[in-house]
Symmetry: C2
DNA sequence: TGCTTCGACTGATAATATCAATTTAGAGAG
DNA sequence: CTCTCTAAATTGATATTATCAGTCGAAGCA
């Protein structure tokens, strides 16, 4: 075990630098969107070689905290107010069971969130949900926009719940396998049916009826679950 | 945009190598526990310099897929199925509302998980839960061990649910503000009361009664919520 | 047989040089 | 004056070489 000061718990220089950068971002020295000093400059000020500094940055990039742009600079991406981040490099094949597990996990979270949104959501938030549904309706033929809008609808409900943890869980779960979810729902789902259910959920929210909102969200997501169950990975493989 | 074959979607060599290594692990060329070839050897066979290879490995290390041991080698760790991680640069102060939000988010997740565990859990898994409760009972005076054991109890229930997403959500939520949760429950909670409730939950699981398990978990976590509500941040500040 | 030491293997770091991508500044034309 | 284009500066990316640091296994000794 190393006994040098500052190296007590870490086994190498690049991980030390990683930690120091994490602490600087955590403490607010750098904010999301900020550009870090140039790599050579940071290497000098940390007193390490630039390959060591690059290794540290690659670690931070791997978990989404920074973004390294060739010729431009290194930018802070993650924020101090985010509790969870989704793993950018999922290393196993995506199975049907995993997709089912995902929707099974989303159901209790989103049912809870919509019930809270019915009582806690502000009028402005409900108005925002209404705009999203209007946008969805105007883009029934545009798969990309429609899918993104529908995901925003779910996400904004969680925000309207007023529960910070639920909102962030929703954010992370929405981002997981986003393309895959879109593909499956695109093949097997019904856009109009989805939209009608979303409208029904919004109406329950507008009536401030938590039980009705929960019931409708449950039905909606169970419908999504049924769609996912119909996915044939052999016939429509992902990636 | 690069047009070289194999570089179409990636902007640099080290990220290419990262992807190739992930694919080798994903496809089973290397299994958890396997040792990868030496860094210099891999650099030669991938046709890159060794700092480039090291950058790729640092990325994989950052997300738990490999472990790099100085002087020993690089080992596959099995983190390739991690869906989400907690944010290392989270920097906001812990508030009472956040602790309440956290338990409010845990309730639907853990109620769902325990219901699934009642039907899906293996006998061996239920046996493991029983051992945990025995360990908890033997350590009622040891705050650290008791707290860790109780957290493992909750975590293993999520594992017994057979839902990979729920298990990982539980893992992450359990680890969030772990010390803080332990401190508050230590001041305001009842060890014996907690333990009795855990025993009741296990009995419901052993009876394979999903509804009873859910009901008991709900009551248990609402009790935890009540404890958290009694926390006075002014009188017992955290860190 | 168990412990210690040494050598080989492996990872870690730095320096230097060169290449690649982006940004900025200046000049020229309309 | 504004816009476009080009060149230079800045910044990131990679490779090579040399040296240092940690681990592991084998051999030797008690």
């Amino acid at each position: 075990m190393k006994t040098h000061m500052g190296r007590l718990e870490k086994s190498n220089l690049s991980d030390d630098v990683t930690e120091r950068l994490v602490e600087m971002i955590r403490s607010g020295v750098y904010q999301p969107g900020d550009r870090l000093p140039a790599i050579m400059e940071m290497a000098r000020s940390f007193g390490v070689g630039h390959p060591t500094l690059r290794e540290a940055l690659k670690k931070l990039e791997a978990i989404g905290i920074v973004e390294i742009k060739h010729g431009s600079g290194v930018y802070v991406k993650g924020g101090q107010d985010v509790l969870l981040v989704s793993n950018p490099v999922y290393g196993k094949a995506i199975s049907k069971k995993l997709m089912i597990d995902l929707i099974d996990a989303r159901i209790p979270i989103e049912v809870k969130a919509v019930g809270l949104a019915a009582t806690e959501g502000t009028d402005a938030q409900l108005e925002g949900l209404k705009h999203l549904l209007e946008e969805a309706e105007a883009n029934m033929d545009n798969d990309v926009v429609l899918s993104a809008t529908n995901m925003s609808f779910h996400r904004e409900i969680a925000v309207a719940s007023g529960n910070a943890v639920l909102a962030q869980l929703q954010e992370v779960l929405t981002n997981l396998f986003q393309l895959e979810q879109r593909m499956i729902l695109g093949i097997y789902g019904s856009r109009e049916g989805d939209h009608k259910e979303h409208v029904g959920i919004l109406e329950a929210l507008q009536q401030r009826d938590a039980e009705l909102a929960e019931s409708r969200m449950q039905s909606h997501l169970e419908g999504v679950r049924d769609v996912l169950r119909r996915w044939d990975p052999k016939q429509n493989p992902i990636s």
